[in-house]
């Protein structure tokens, strides 16, 4: 006979304001098997939990139903409470009467009625709950970091520091990411390369870190503690182990007209190239789309000049497979494409540039050796207009609905740097709002306005029109002065919104992690678990989770590393006991379940059985590996005989819930 306890939470007024909690407790107290039914102000509080624990002991409860917030919130809290009172934690069920009842309904009578029904469904289910014991599964003591920007580097360094092996997979020929392209950082105006490159070197020299540059993640299998990842090492046609990075090949390469991605296409590189001087690994890469040898079979200069003999035109993509206990995603961001913004003449006028392009134009390693010149005629610009929020905070389909967060600050930085170096250059900044929350941020912005006399104008730029005299007509409105402005600028800089890297979406699919509608990875909890994904063992680092500046990125990178380390220090982790299991007497051995299992958790064995008709037969039956099964339940429906069932969500439990709801 079941002895079930029901505990109805007021959640302050969150539930109690719309649901008559006393009536719910009373109604559920009348359900068969329920021997105690109570309500309490905050069931998740210590005294609320004690209420549950004491009732378990006092009434020798065999099941507990908590009517409260979502099980996604406090299921574990109450399971742990039950366990500490000696009740198997899987004999606890939650009826979600907050998120799915009190918060969405206004009428007390009907909300109460619904809460009672949800409670009855939970009572019906808990009648059929079975005590479950979690198994254990070993943890592979190695981490994978996907993305080699500052986020990935910081995460890798921290994990390595804790003594664990960690691999970085970077799709570009070098690590460094976006930060490597940035000239100076706000609000300190120190040189980005000067603080980044030592970290890159540190990563390359750390004995625990392996860098797979020019590589991509091709496949991910497995689960927390035991991922199997296939990494595609793209052919760079240069033997990484032999290349010394001397750069002779890049000098001698006859094909020198390839737009240089690192400098945003403002200058050219050779077909065999090293992205920039401090690249890590400092190894050349052949761009097969532009290499004469690859395209026509004629040339081979690089091979001839390479004293190390590192050139290998026949190199092919290579797949390597590696086990990992934890995976950190650090895939970063990209500025959005501005093709749809004709009003800013980005595609028509070379002197309309993005902020990231401006970084390269101003950088000492950039196309002009650090002198800011107009891309069109290489002349010194005397009037520069910055346009904020290009594609950010948009309610149309062209842009992004969110604030890209970093633009206000880097624009202040740019304005300041220009005014500092070229006092004769007028700088205008058109903004919707200037957002400067952050340590020393507002001070920094005020310096730009007050000390450097940057013209901040609250207003929108309506149209940018290149003129035949080389000037650019910027038509804008000044909202504070309430007037239309025309500025004849020499350059226009667009603060393009940032978006997640395009490779993130397919990666999320492989990792079975969730993304939001903007393709940013979704954290497990927006406040309490900001660096974990909802998928166990997958952590989030940097701008892949949302727009961030460098210090935030680094902070999150270290936080993700810490979370990964917490996992890696364990020798084994507790498995989810809510896994599938097969009733061998009913199993037909038909292989349907195996075909739909995403984890390969099901195998078949030939086993001898005493059959119902007294014969002995050897039958092929399914067997589930509980450490590998993740409990999705696909097999339970594929199984025609119903031999396959799922712990915690059994056929009979779900049917009992259906029945209770439809009663």
């Amino acid at each position: 006979m079941q002895r079930i306890g029901v505990f109805v939470c007021h959640c302050g007024t969150n539930i109690a304001a719309t649901v008559d909690v006393k009536a719910v407790a009373e109604a559920l107290g009348r359900e068969p098997g329920v021997i105690v039914s109570q309500d309490y102000q905050y069931m998740c509080s210590e005294s609320g939990q004690n209420l549950v624990k004491n009732a378990i002991k006092e009434h020798k409860l065999t099941g507990v139903v908590v009517c409260s917030c979502s099980p996604r919130m406090h299921e574990n809290t109450f399971r742990n409470a039950a366990a500490s009172a000696g009740l198997n934690p899987y004999l606890v069920e939650i009826a979600n009467i907050r998120e799915q009842c009190s918060w969405i309904h206004k009428d007390i009578a009907s909300a109460t009625e619904k809460a009672i029904i949800l409670g009855k469904a939970a009572v019906a289910k808990v009648h059929l709950n079975a005590p479950l014991t979690a198994g254990e599964s070993p943890v592979v003591k190695r981490a994978l970091v996907i993305g080699g920007g500052i986020a990935g580097i910081q995460t890798a360094l921290d994990i390595a520091e804790a003594g664990f092996d960690v691999d970085i997979v970077e799709k570009k020929p070098t690590i460094g990411g976006k930060m490597a392209q940035i000239d100076k950082t706000f609000p300190t105006l120190d040189c980005a390369a000067c603080i980044l490159t030592p970290k890159m070197v540190e990563a390359s020299q750390n004995e625990h870190i392996t860098i797979h540059s020019y590589s991509e993640v091709a496949d991910v299998k497995g689960f927390v503690g035991n991922f199997t990842v296939t990494i595609k090492k793209k052919a760079r046609f240069v033997d990484e182990t032999k290349c010394t990075g001397c750069g002779l090949c890049t000098e001698k390469c006859p094909m020198k007209k390839v737009p240089n991605e690192f400098n945003m296409g403002f200058d050219n590189r050779s077909a065999i190239y090293i992205p920039f001087a401090q690249a890590v690994p400092k190894v050349a890469t052949i761009d097969p789309n532009n290499c004469m040898m690859m395209k026509t079979g004629k040339c081979g200069v690089c091979s001839k000049v390479c004293s190390a003999g590192a050139i290998d035109y026949k190199q092919e993509d290579r797949l390597i497979e590696q086990q990992y206990g934890a995976i950190v995603v650090a895939t970063g961001f990209e500025p959005i494409k501005l093709d749809k913004y004709d009003e800013f003449a980005y595609n028509q006028c070379p002197d309309v540039v993005t902020s990231l392009e401006l970084e390269r134009l101003m950088n000492a390693a950039g196309p002009n050796g650090g002198t800011l010149l107009r891309p069109s005629d290489k002349t010194h610009p005397h009037k520069i207009v910055f346009v904020q929020c290009v594609g950010s905070r948009c309610d149309d389909s062209k842009g992004k609905p969110y604030c890209s967060k970093i633009c206000c600050m880097y624009t202040a930085k740019h304005a300041m740097l220009i005014r500092e170096k070229y006092p004769d250059t007028e700088v205008y900044v058109f903004y919707i709002d200037v957002r400067t929350p952050g340590k020393n941020f507002d001070e920094f912005y005020r310096r730009a306005v007050e000390q450097y006399n940057v013209h901040y104008i609250k207003g929108m730029v309506g149209k940018v029109t290149p003129r035949s005299d080389g000037k650019i007509d910027v038509q804008a409105s000044d909202l504070l002065a309430n007037e239309q402005l025309h500025i004849d600028a020499d350059m226009v800089v667009l603060a393009a919104a940032i978006e997640p890297d395009k490779t993130a979406r397919p990666l999320a699919t492989m990792l079975t992690t969730q993304m939001d509608t903007n393709d940013f990875f979704t954290e497990a909890h927006p406040k309490l678990r900001p660096v974990e994904s909802a998928t166990a063992g997958i952590f989030l680092s940097g701008a892949c989770q949302g727009p961030k500046d460098i210090p935030e990125t680094v902070a999150q990178a270290s936080a993700a590393a810490a979370k990964a380390i917490v996992l890696l220090v364990k020798n084994s982790i507790t498995c989810n006991p809510c896994v599938a299991h097969s009733d061998e007497l009913m199993c037909n051995g038909c292989s349907s379940c195996e075909k739909v299992c995403p984890y390969g958790a099901i195998t078949y064995i030939d086993k001898e059985f005493k059959m119902p008709d007294r014969t002995i037969a050897v039958r092929r039956v399914a067997s589930v590996n509980p450490a590998v099964c993740q409990g999705c339940g696909a097999c339970t429906v594929a199984c025609p005989s119903g031999a396959m069932d799922l712990n915690g969500f059994s056929n009979s439990q779900i049917i009992a819930e259906v029945d209770a709801i439809c009663k």
């Binding site: 009348r30 359900e31 068969p32 119902p612 008709d613 007294r614 029945d659 439809c662 009663k663």
Partner: protein, 339 residues
């Protein structure tokens, strides 16, 4: 004998249905016949027999026995029995008419099955003599005369008129209720038809099948016969034979949870089913051979042993026509027979 012209059948049915619920065999769209509640315009089927037998009227496939109403922790027991309405089943063939005698022996013996008795008391069986028996018919094997059926009353057709006679008080009441439509008639042509029918019956392929070598005393001869293996080998274990059978009487009692209570109902069971007579300890007949044997031993040995030699089969031939793999009591009798 009293008679009514065949072209006035409509009037007859209208008259019967005016006072009682009337069921007659009618043709379905797919050509098969089934009993339906009479409604104006419905035509009597000319088919030899219905797919489902007439036993459904007294022993339906499912029947509620008792309800339990549940409210929280309270349970209330509700007796769902109600007095049955009066009804007439018209056109029952001789084989099915005999089946009621067999079912009565089961359900009306102590302890009396009140559900069955209720219906039996209120139902009047009006049988109909056969004129075109089929190759699957072997009612004669069990001493049934297809040309002179039992029942509360019986009808005979001579091609022009329908003659009706009562066999008991209930039958007489039935005839009295329609007396205004009937008039006395000459049965000489009817006798000719009956004689012809009896000639045909003798010529049927199964006419020579007898029960001489079966009966309540034959347990040892047949129970361990080595023929059962071969005979049951191809049996699919479906319930067709038992469900179309007019004499199969096994049922199961089950509870149906409606969400707000329990409906305890009984439904036909089949000895061919793997859970037949399954009890808490398990199942006494674990193999299809044993279950298959049960059916035929029951009809040919156990039933006569307990019922003064009456066999549990009426030779209607439904199982011969309907078994998916054409295994049936005739083949079993012929294969087993020890003379």
């Amino acid at each position: 004998m009293l008679k009514i012209s065949l072209d006035k059948l409509d009037k007859l049915f209208e008259a019967i249905s005016a006072t009682k619920t009337l069921y007659i065999p009618t043709d379905r769209e797919d050509g098969a016949a089934e009993y339906r509640k009479y409604e104006s315009g419905m035509k009597l089927s000319s088919a030899l027999n219905t797919v489902r037998s007439a036993k459904d009227f007294f022993f339906p496939q499912t029947e509620n026995l008792v309800d339990f109403k549940m409210d929280g922790k309270n349970i209330e027991v509700i007796d769902v029995r109600e007095e049955s309405e009066d009804f007439v089943i018209f056109g029952v063939r001789a084989c099915d008419a005999r089946s009621f005698t067999i079912l009565d022996k089961v359900f009306l013996a102590e302890p009396v099955d009140s559900y069955y008795k209720n219906r039996r008391d209120h139902g009047t069986v009006v049988a109909m003599a056969c004129t075109r028996p089929a190759e699957t018919c072997f009612c004669g094997t069990f001493g049934i005369d297809a040309a002179a059926p039992e029942g509360d009353a019986a009808c005979y057709s001579d091609g022009e008129s329908l003659f009706i006679e009562a066999h008991n008080e209930k039958g007489q009441q039935f005839i009295d209720s329609i007396a205004s439509l009937l008039k006395d008639g000459d049965t000489s042509k009817l006798e000719e038809v009956r004689a012809k029918t009896r000639e045909i019956l003798k010529k049927l392929p199964l006419a020579k099948l007898t029960t001489d070598n079966f009966g309540g005393d034959k347990l040892n001869e047949y129970f361990n016969s080595d023929k059962w293996g071969e005979l049951s080998e191809s049996c699919l274990g479906c319930g067709t034979c038992t469900f179309v059978c007019p004499t199969c009487q096994c049922y199961d009692i089950k509870d149906f949870n409606t969400g707000h209570g329990i409906k305890r109902f009984r439904c036909w069971d089949s000895c061919m089913y793997s859970d037949f007579t399954k009890m808490a300890h398990g199942n006494p007949r674990l193999t299809q051979l044993e279950r298959f044997r049960q059916r035929f031993m029951h009809k040919l040995v156990y039933f006569p042993a307990n019922n003064n030699g009456e066999f549990g089969c009426v030779g209607c031939g439904r199982c011969l026509a309907k078994c998916p793999i054409s295994m049936n009591i005739v083949k079993v009798m012929k294969a087993l027979e020890v003379k």
